[in-house]
Symmetry: C2
Subunit: 132 residues, 2 copies
């Protein structure tokens, strides 16, 4: 079978919603908001999320157990993700910095481990919050 090119119904519903809200959102919140579209159970959401993460359409913010749409057209495979997270207003942004990603992709572990994926989460104060 060829690699999947189009999303299934549930996958599309979940992705549409995540892209619409445009900020990290939790699985059960997604569930609550797509029930009118016919998705009734957590598993239906989690299955769609798994697939969407796998194909790089969304990312999981591990420290928040939340999901956000991918902004970088170039990280299709979701293997290299970096986020900034404001500890005050909770704003999360995907970092798109080619130098950083290059540096991390080429990082050589002393133990000789071969990496094919990483996730980096920065915490701090965003511009707005640091003024206050």
């Amino acid at each position: 079978m060829l690699k999947q090119e189009t999303l299934s119904k549930n996958q599309q519903i979940v992705l549409d919603y995540i892209e619409k809200v445009n900020e990290p959102i939790k699985a059960y919140s997604i569930l609550h908001n797509v029930q009118k579209k016919g998705i009734k159970a957590p598993l239906q959401v989690y299955r769609a999320l798994d697939k969407l993460v796998e194909i790089g359409k969304i990312h999981k913010i591990e420290s928040k157990n939340a999901f956000v749409a991918c902004k970088n057209s170039n990280c299709q495979i979701s293997k290299a993700t970096a986020f900034s997270i404001c500890e005050s207003c909770e704003e999360v942004s995907e970092i798109s910095d080619s130098k950083l990603s290059k540096y991390l992709k080429n990082f050589q572990d002393k133990a000789g481990m071969k990496f094919n994926k990483y996730n980096l989460e920065f915490f701090g104060l965003c511009k707005k919050c640091s003024i206050k």
Copy 2:
């Protein structure tokens, strides 16, 4: 009051166990294993874990919801953590690379955000597993 210098009873019990197992371990697994020491409820474990993370004695592996003792005597404050995770055997190691930590500490977000903390998780195959 002065800053806490000694750990409380429950904190010490939990830390002792985490240091003993020497690999990432989950909260309920800790609970199960320290019940003989008198810790009976999840909250007792989670409270100790919170404190231990806060003071840098342990770190949380976010992608695994697991906790591991800190190996770097110099990351007392738990503000800069990096781990390598084998996707095959699940082995987790703390990365102690001064170049990497320097690079990340000094990383400047384009949006002008001021970072005071980060967590980085690399995934790949460890030496043993990549031979197989």
